[in-house]
Symmetry: C3
Subunit: 270 residues, 3 copies
């Protein structure tokens, strides 16, 4: 169903998915607060000694190598192995892939381990697929539509969902291409909104695992939840400090009616 994603937020709020985040130090606090706001439970268990076992307990796992120490790389590999052993869905956020050699190798290897979802901006998705050079640092320099081929390539390779975040979000899986319009440009003035979206995606995948909401719709729901909240926040705040506060408020307060009115989903006929 086209509006299947509208049912997913209730699923998160009633099941409180435990989301293990192996993510960068810049956005840990915001990511944890965003997860709490939508009704999920965050746990940043990222050391190699603990990450394998915890991925078997968690409902979803996020891998985001934004500030990757040697120890955190080891922890990420262990978490992915633990998630795959237990069947826990995990999300790969390829932040900064392309220009940076070491993390690019790690991220490309991670694709072969079959993440349930990949989420990045257009430049990152293109670079992860090996079709381009990546952006400048962590900024996107490509257009979302230009990442369609790369997203389809990655979706085929992983059997999972690939999301390209931008002015309009592109969500791709085998046989399905969806475009989601929501959000507000102010989201880019607050650090960690993209990284937090990776964590929300893990929460939505975990919360909808045993339901008739597909992983594709779960990924749409995560993007729609953040996008609609961003839209609401932009009506309440005109500068980034107060926008960030309003965004967390809106993530928490968002209701089904708002979600439906503030997001627009379009399926591409193929």
């Amino acid at each position: 169903m086209a509006d299947s994603y509208l049912h997913a937020p209730t699923q998160v709020r009633t099941t409180t998915p435990l989301v293990q985040c192996l993510t960068n130090a810049v956005v840990m606090q915001f990511t944890a607060n965003a997860l709490l706001a939508i009704g999920a439970s965050p746990a940043m268990v990222d050391t190699p000694a603990e990450s394998f076992d915890f991925a078997g307990v968690a409902d979803g796992v996020l891998i985001n190598a934004g500030t990757p120490s040697a120890e955190q790389y080891a922890g990420m590999n262990r978490a992915v192995d633990g998630a795959n052993a237990a069947g826990t869905p995990w999300v790969l956020d390829p932040v900064g892939v392309g220009g940076l050699a070491e993390r690019s190798a790690f991220l490309r290897d991670s694709v072969d381990k079959q993440p349930a979802a990949i989420r990045g901006n257009a430049s990152e998705i293109v670079a992860l697929a090996g079709l381009g050079a990546g952006g400048r640092g962590v900024d996107a320099t490509d257009e979302v539509a230009d990442a369609l081929e790369a997203a389809q390539l990655l979706a085929r390779r992983t059997g999972g969902v690939v999301a390209v975040t931008g002015p309009e979000d592109l969500i791709v899986s085998e046989g399905r291409v969806s475009w989601l319009r929501s959000g507000d440009p102010m989201l880019q003035l607050v650090i960690g909104t993209g990284c937090a979206l990776g964590a929300l995606t893990a929460a939505y995948l975990g919360a909808t695992r045993d339901t008739d909401i597909s992983p594709h719709d779960a990924v749409i729901a995560a993007h729609a939840h953040l996008g609609a909240a961003g839209h609401i926040a932009a009506t309440r705040a005109t500068a980034p400090g107060s926008f960030a506060v309003a965004l967390l408020d809106a993530l928490h307060q968002l209701d089904r009616h708002q979600l439906e009115n503030l997001t627009h989903l379009r399926e591409e006929n193929r």
Copy 2:
């Protein structure tokens, strides 16, 4: 005196205790801001090369192994040794003890080094005492009252104060059991409020060292300060983003009158 804790905030504000925090990366910013808000001075000196010496200069030390790298474990052990050598009170926050093997071993060993205070949720205190399995990730699944025996066991073993945070806080030391009612459930929707409470506890212990306020009352005061501020914040904000802002404001602005009116202390006759 039953209301001895009401005098402690002034002690913090007039002495500006220097609090060394070895804590997890998720909550470092919020912890530092909470310490500044109550009038203390934060310093996150956590490397093995520096933590021993700094613990001799600090007025209080917090040990919280929420995201423990190998280097930070070494730094924590050095800080505890430095604190014990200098007589600096230190607080142990056993976040995540139970399910996670490596940190559980570290945390149980730390109990033997005699922290001045231990602060955790019910599941953590039960697991730290070896009487239960711990919660799910970092969430409590036990009731506060069920942690009384564990808290008493730990208080006897350390000679210190043990605080169990929950809907009603339990503060235990040899021969004394206190129940504190304060706070608001919204506190659980902001990451780091529990972890920051460990740091406030270290600040209160440091600021009251050479006064006639007992360590037991200092620990009550830290919990009452956060609880009363949480109550005030909940009257000003109804969602977690703005609640977090209001909480820091209230931590800073809280006066003696509010502290008295918004907290209720009950001593258990034993």
Copy 3:
């Protein structure tokens, strides 16, 4: 020109300088948000595997050893080498220099690698120059005016700009001594405002590189931008939680007129 610094903010907003921050975990989020607010682009690329190359791409680099792991020290040294190889201006923030032996050695060695600017409080600048013992933890215990000799010594040694942050900021380079009055004491109740100022300084140096705004005026501009925003925030908020929000808002919204009216620059005749 005395008011040359007033033109610099437009330069930042139109060029979006990419600022590589190797900084402490406590302030990473706030630093990134402050950079976004002024129109710069943050990237916390701090591992030894990536920091050299990235410093060649970045427009400015910040080195702040507030919570320095062994791996981050290595990353910092690589970043400095990369910045010097590429001619990228880099800023040294000597947080905590003095009492802490390992970081003091690192920081003093870094001075010899010729940072384009050094930014610290009075105690840090005095200690970095080898003229005093440093403050208590990260707090300044010296007066700004007492750091003049140290600042001049460091400016001569590096050929760069040295800024001493305090109630009145002192900006020194060979042959020029400027005093900037701006800001508000509330800035000290929010963690990371000083550290973020180091990052803003890197942004301003990067954005003005190929203009007729001198590095000295670029450093003044960074301090004036934060100071004026702090002044505005203090008119909107009376406690630290809401002040921090208002500060980010004001960093973003500040216009030329406000910058001019809320800062006072005085050149010292020598």
